[in-house]
Amino acid sequence: MATSTSCPDWQALAAARDRSPQDPPGWESALRHLDECATCRREAVAADPTLAFRALPALELDVASEVEAMRLRVAALRGATAVVAPRRRAAELVARVHVSWRLAAAAAVAALAVFAGGNDHHDSTPVSRVAAAVASPAAQAPPAASPALAAELASQPVLDGLDKPFDHVVQWNGDNLSVILVVDQRLGV
């Protein structure tokens, strides 16, 4: 096979590599040349058959589905690990519950906007009592500070999957009321 004048002497390079663990001078540039020069590949591989393994074909993967499957697997494994190792995870779980509670509070305020139809804090329906309590400064404290409220929220989930990521959270601030709208990606907006 004819080789370009710039092609390395693969026999000499391979012989040098056979003598010592140290790569011979010019080896890296020879490899870069090999990756782009199909004409000297045959000679290079004949001199050192292991050079063929530089061009191993990639796995045939459906990358998008592999990635999504892996994301779900990792999430599931993280959840399972959290269940089987409660002591080690205690601090993380506490933090997560705390975040979830805050999101629950936000959702409860959104429920106020939907069900109560304004800023009437004197309505005595359960929903508006919960929402009014959440919107008040005292509601910003952790659940331990108001166990009755926490129990009511826990007994009546206001939004499914509160620990899942949300697409958007929008906040309106009024004089006496803040409305926080949580827009889940499942709504398709």
Partner: protein
């Protein structure tokens, strides 16, 4: 009422991590940011599957190892040292778990069984170049199974995946000179086996020539 204010956007958050460097992702992991983990999974899954598959020779086992590797990255996120290359840390976790998995595998016959017969059976069903490329990969899997773990990993990471000797030394937790010795011995063993088991390829250089087409 004030003008509505966007407090949080999942899309913006994803976009932010999409543009982050590997180092920034690992920093995000250290801060317990789950979006950073999601992006790391998106970015690294294909490459890590390749490496684990090359070590294990089984895609489903490779998936298991990569899954556990991501969990390990999350659990050990505080241990990442920013002076390291992110890839070095990640590859180290994957290769160590792959080796652990390999050791725990009860039977290795499946790995060392020659592929030639099977490949010849499917020769008529596929294009020659594609078959040749697959055959090279199969030959590598077959022959690499005869190397020691360190030789196999050194060769895989340096010669196949293209990491530098320094990076391989960090992944394998040894000196660069040790990596060079592993490579030297791996190359000798592979050359000997290719020439012995597949002389037609070694003599005519077909092993690489067809793959390049």
């Amino acid at each position: 009422m004030s003008v509505p204010r966007l407090v949080y956007s999942e899309r913006d958050e994803r976009q932010k991590w999409l543009q982050a460097s590997d180092l920034e992702l690992l920093e995000g992991l250290r801060q317990e940011n789950e979006r950073a983990l999601d992006e790391l999974v998106r970015r690294k899954t294909p490459a890590l599957l390749q490496v684990a598959y090359r070590v294990l020779g089984d895609l489903e086992e490779a998936r298991d190892v990569v899954q556990v590797s991501f969990l390990r990255m999350w659990e050990h996120r505080a241990r990442f040292d920013a002076r390291w290359s992110p890839n070095t840390w990640i590859y180290r976790i994957v290769t160590n778990l792959s080796i652990d998995h390999l050791r725990s595998r009860k039977s290795r016959e499946r790995n060392t069984e020659p592929y030639r017969h099977h490949l010849r059976q499917v020769e008529d069903e596929r294009g020659f170049s594609e078959l040749q490329a697959r055959e090279v990969a199969a030959i590598f899997e077959e022959l690499a199974a005869g190397l020691s773990e360190k030789q196999r990993l050194a060769f895989l990471l340096r010669e196949v995946e293209g990491l530098s000797s320094q990076e391989v030394a960090q992944v394998l937790d040894c000196r660069e000179s040790t990596v060079r010795n592993h490579l030297f011995n791996a190359r000798k063993a592979l050359q000997k086996e290719v020439r012995k088991r597949y002389p037609e390829y070694a003599q005519e250089g077909l092993l690489g020539a067809e793959v390049a087409q």
